[in-house]
Symmetry: C2
DNA sequence: AGTTTCAGTGAACAACTGTTCTTACAGTTG
DNA sequence: CAACTGTAAGAACAGTTGTTCACTGAAACT
């Protein structure tokens, strides 16, 4: 029975992931800022001093965590709209994918929602930069559609920023719904869906509105 | 020179306020959850043990703090729309008042934005309840206007929830703008204004849209 | 086969944490 | 004026914190 050979960097990568996972687990009930270094290493099953082999401090770990979370999620949502040519369909499809992904990675979303408004400046900046990029990419894709002929760049970004914000707020709200109340969660999603619908309607009449430009 | 006589409860109220102010000051860079009891009392200029005369623990202080913040702000915004009969005007006037109030009470808004998504459950519940009430009251007022004849309660709450969310997100974004970049702040406000305008347009066409009901 | 590299250990450190006492002393009450 | 009340002080408690250091042992390299 030849047990698997583990290279050095594989092992290192593994403990690094253990630290990230430990922090992720602990952050279900606290912020990044209120995490303790010993607390995290204890949860990860290593000795405190070993932490420094992987991160300078907890803020560093936080940044890595956020990059891991958003970096895996945003491409999925982006891919979900590939090939779609109707803007309304893009919005609704994105929402669907977001909700499915949310169910599978609640912890990751929770960290994003928490730290987007949290106390650690550098982490906030990383999140904002990534969300900004997501909004920009969405604007890129939409600008190619017939629905948006005549739109200028600024208005497009205004719209996609609004959509991204709504998506983020929806996830934050859903994460606050107790797990034993699926009905309430459905109600929240319904409301969000109608709010998106209202935005879509506003989008449809944006250019022909007297105050639109 | 008769020095002012200070009653017992006046003095107590005064130290209580000193604790709240101290926490408010410290929370510019950290969350409620990462505050220390000793840290707060040190900042307030009293001895740690005295804390317990005013609050059971820091979560209690947090609740008092958000109640103070929202309790003083929401009525102001509510009063700002008294007498107005045009719904578009109500939205824009509310935004104006919000921005003016924000400039005067940045610390309070920062706490609300932070803790709305923060780690302390009970504090989050208080904030959500107050914001929900604000949205409900706005729905009450709007329902009396001619603009909303034919609207049912659920759609109204959907709309006001959306508006409240947008206002909250705007304040959170503004608080993240470095104090030495007033231009960037203006840009953010402009975008938010156009986003509200888009929502207003959507509202205007909500009932006559094929998917509207 | 011998040497180097380095992720993880274990012990030690001073500093700080929340909480519990007893004590002091000024405003309040009869 | 004397007794009472209760805020705040001061000291002490056991735990926990972040960081450092010399170390071990196995993978990686020559």
């Amino acid at each position: 029975m030849a047990h698997t050979v583990i290279t050095r960097q594989e092992q290192k990568q593994r403990t690094r992931q253990a630290l990230l996972d430990a922090a992720l687990r602990l952050m279900e009930h606290k912020n990044l800022g209120s995490l303790g270094l010993r607390e995290v290493t204890r949860e990860a099953g290593i000795v405190p001093a070993a932490f420094y082999r992987h991160f300078r401090d907890l803020d560093d770990l936080g940044i890595a965590l956020v990059e891991e979370s958003l970096g895996s999620m945003l491409p999925v949502i982006r891919d979900a709209r590939r090939g779609l040519t109707d803007s309304d369909e893009i919005v609704h499809r994105s929402l669907e994918v977001l909700l499915a992904y949310l169910d599978m990675h609640r912890d990751h979303f929770r960290v994003i929602a928490r730290e987007k408004f949290g106390g650690v400046t550098r982490v906030r900046q990383v999140i904002n930069a990534q969300l900004q990029q997501a909004a920009d990419e969405l604007a890129d894709d939409l600008s190619l559609l017939p629905d948006f002929t005549g739109w200028d760049r600024a208005d497009l970004q205004m719209l996609t920023g609004l959509l991204v914000n709504q998506m983020l707020l929806l996830t934050a709200t859903l994460l606050d719904v107790p797990a034993d109340q699926p009905g309430e969660a459905q109600r929240v999603v319904d409301t969000a869906r109608r709010q998106l619908q209202l935005i879509i309607i506003g989008r449809r009449h944006w250019l022909d509105s007297p105050t639109g430009h």
